[in-house]
């Protein structure tokens, strides 16, 4: 249940990050407002995505990572 909520919050935060860029490109918001929006949405992303990620297990990555090389 909590995982779903955190996942949804993370998706919305990421969408807000992208929306801030679209809004400043379209001239709907000023540069300062855009930067503030982006900072808040980014913070929300890290909180919700970290909580969401902490509640999931991804075996493929664990098994593969020690020997897979950097990209």
């Amino acid at each position: 249940m909590f995982r779903t909520v955190f996942g949804l919050m993370a998706a919305l935060s990421l969408a807000a990050c992208l929306a801030s860029g679209i809004l400043v490109f379209l001239g709907c918001v000023e540069s300062e407002t855009y930067r503030r929006m982006l900072s808040v949405a980014s913070l929300a992303w890290f909180v919700s995505a970290a909580a969401w990620s902490g509640k999931s297990t991804r075996p493929l990555e664990k098994q593969g990572e020690a020997n897979s090389s950097e990209r």
Binding site: L14, C17, L18, S20, G21, I22, V24, F25, L26, G27, S31, Y34, R35, R36, L38, S39, S42, W45, F46, A49, A50, S53, G54, R58, P59, L60, E61, Q63, G64, E65, A66, N67, S68, S69, E70, R71
Partner: protein, 466 residues
């Protein structure tokens, strides 16, 4: 399964070294069992997250500085990334799916444990240089509020003490974090990946009006051709054509696909066609992110300063993204350098080896040439490891066709397959002497290595059955 034949006459030290090396990789010694195979969705999500790194801030910007035109860039990235996806699909994934082993264990059977150890050390040194570049990239972001001047494009040696102090401080922080807990940090790194890609897109969108692009995008292509990828090279940079872009996009991950490091990943694939999932990493990470960083650098008057560029485009989130992108690349790279070096260090604990690798990395990061010549370094990185990929491919595919016995090093119990060693050294020497741009040398070098290794083993050919 893998028979670990040992030559009883082998010197004690070499034997001990091999035992230590095998112990490090013991957990993935056996081929992956059928019930451990993963779904396509898992591959897609993993590969999508892994190809957005700190290097992307620098690579896309360098294309602008190297005077590539907009049409050449788009065409080059589409074709080059497609070739990279096909290399994963038709070279790396089939070998991995057929034997379900990591490159380490497969190479051990083919090249012998001694040569595999040398390969590991070479890999570790290359990892250290890559991590050093990431520390330098992060230093451009952290140095911004501190007023530390980013070195110039043509600088080779450190130009001011503040830069050295900053890279040492960041290096120390990255190494400490890598020592304290790789697992938790790598989980956090995965959280960062989608956000970093979003910052690339948002940052590029935000600076488009500054470049003169209209809100309805009707003049985007004209602006792209005239003000972003306008074909004008920056001082000290050589001119890139569509071929440079195609080859760069193709070999950027040469160590992973052609040199087969990603066997570690694709041994979990249900089918070799899972190599196509690498497109989820290539097109967002190595196409969209590179295009976005190109737009961002054009908006700051082509100054190669990733921290400043990101701050201009995305405010405080920009430099944070640069630092996180640098760190999420450096952290696993330091871990892998430590792992690779651990096989030649006498019973040292992981923290000690990581510390040594981190110190080397930090010293390297002081030198601006490490990230100011990043494109050349990426080419050299792939080039150095590529011949061993050719050796494995020759042994896996060509030897059965030509009736040449496989896995001679394993069967004879020899520590070093000297033929593989000759091919490795000979190919690198040949590539060094090739009269062409560094970016184009790996392909003839790869074919040379395939032919040379096959030719050196041709005398072992068995007669055709009657």
């Amino acid at each position: 399964m893998i028979a670990a034949h040992r030559n009883t006459n082998m010197p004690m030290k070499l034997s001990q070294l091999m035992s230590r090396m095998d112990a490090l990789y013991e957990y993935d010694r056996e081929p992956v069992a059928p019930d451990q195979l993963k779904t396509g969705w898992q591959f897609a999500s993993l590969l999508a997250g892994e190809h957005v790194a700190g290097t992307e801030f620098v690579i896309g910007a360098f294309f602008v500085l190297h005077g590539v035109t907009a049409a050449d860039l788009i065409l080059g990235l589409v074709i080059g990334n497609l070739l990279a996806v096909l290399s994963w699909t038709f070279v790396c994934a089939p070998v991995a799916v057929q034997n379900r082993l990591t490159l380490y264990w497969y190479l051990r059977r083919i090249a012998g444990p001694g040569l595999t150890a040398i390969y590991n050390v070479a890999n570790a040194v290359l990892y250290c240089i890559l991590a050093g570049a990431m520390i330098a990239v992060s230093a451009t972001a952290i140095g911004l509020p501190l007023g530390v001047k980013t070195p110039a494009l043509t600088d080779v040696y450190p130009t001011n003490p503040a830069w050295v102090a900053l890279t040492f401080a960041i290096g120390a922080a990255f190494v400490t974090l890598a020592i304290l807990g790789f697992e938790k940090l790598s989980n956090f790194a995965r959280v960062c990946a989608p956000w970093i890609l979003a910052i690339f897109v948002v940052g590029a969108l935000a600076v488009l009006p500054r470049l003169g692009v209209h809100a309805n995008l009707d003049n985007f292509w004209e602006i792209a051709k005239a003000r972003i990828w306008n074909g004008v090279t920056s001082p000290g940079q050589d001119k890139f054509s569509v071929w440079h872009i195609i080859f760069f996009a193709w070999f950027c991950n040469l160590a992973m696909h052609i040199a087969l490091s990603d066997m570690a990943l694709f041994r979990y694939a249900r089918h070799w066609a899972y190599g196509l999932y690498s497109a989820f990493g290539m097109y967002p990470g190595h196409m969209l992110a590179w295009l976005c960083s190109g737009i961002m650098v054009a908006a700051v008057g082509r100054q190669m300063d990733p921290g400043m560029m990101a701050a201009e485009a995305a405010g405080i989130a920009g430099p944070v993204a640069v630092v996180l992108a640098g760190w999420t690349t450096a952290n696993p790279t330091l871990y892998r350098a430590g792992l690779a070096l651990q096989c030649v260090t006498p019973n040292w604990p992981r923290w000690k080896v990581t510390l040594i690798a981190g110190f080397i990395t930090t010293v390297l990061s002081c030198f601006p040439v490490i990230f100011m010549r990043l494109l050349d370094y990426v080419a050299i990185y792939g080039l150095v490891l590529m011949p061993m990929g050719a050796v494995v491919v020759a042994e896996h595919w060509l030897f059965p066709l030509l009736r040449i016995p496989r896995y001679r090093a394993e069967q004879t119990g020899s520590a070093v397959n000297w033929r593989a060693g000759v091919v490795w050294a000979g190919t690198l020497a040949a590539c060094f002497l090739m009269p062409m741009h560094l970016f184009f040398r790996w392909l003839p070098g790869y074919l040379f290595a395939l032919v040379l290794y096959t030719a050196l083993n041709l005398h072992l050919r068995k007669p055709a059955p009657a």
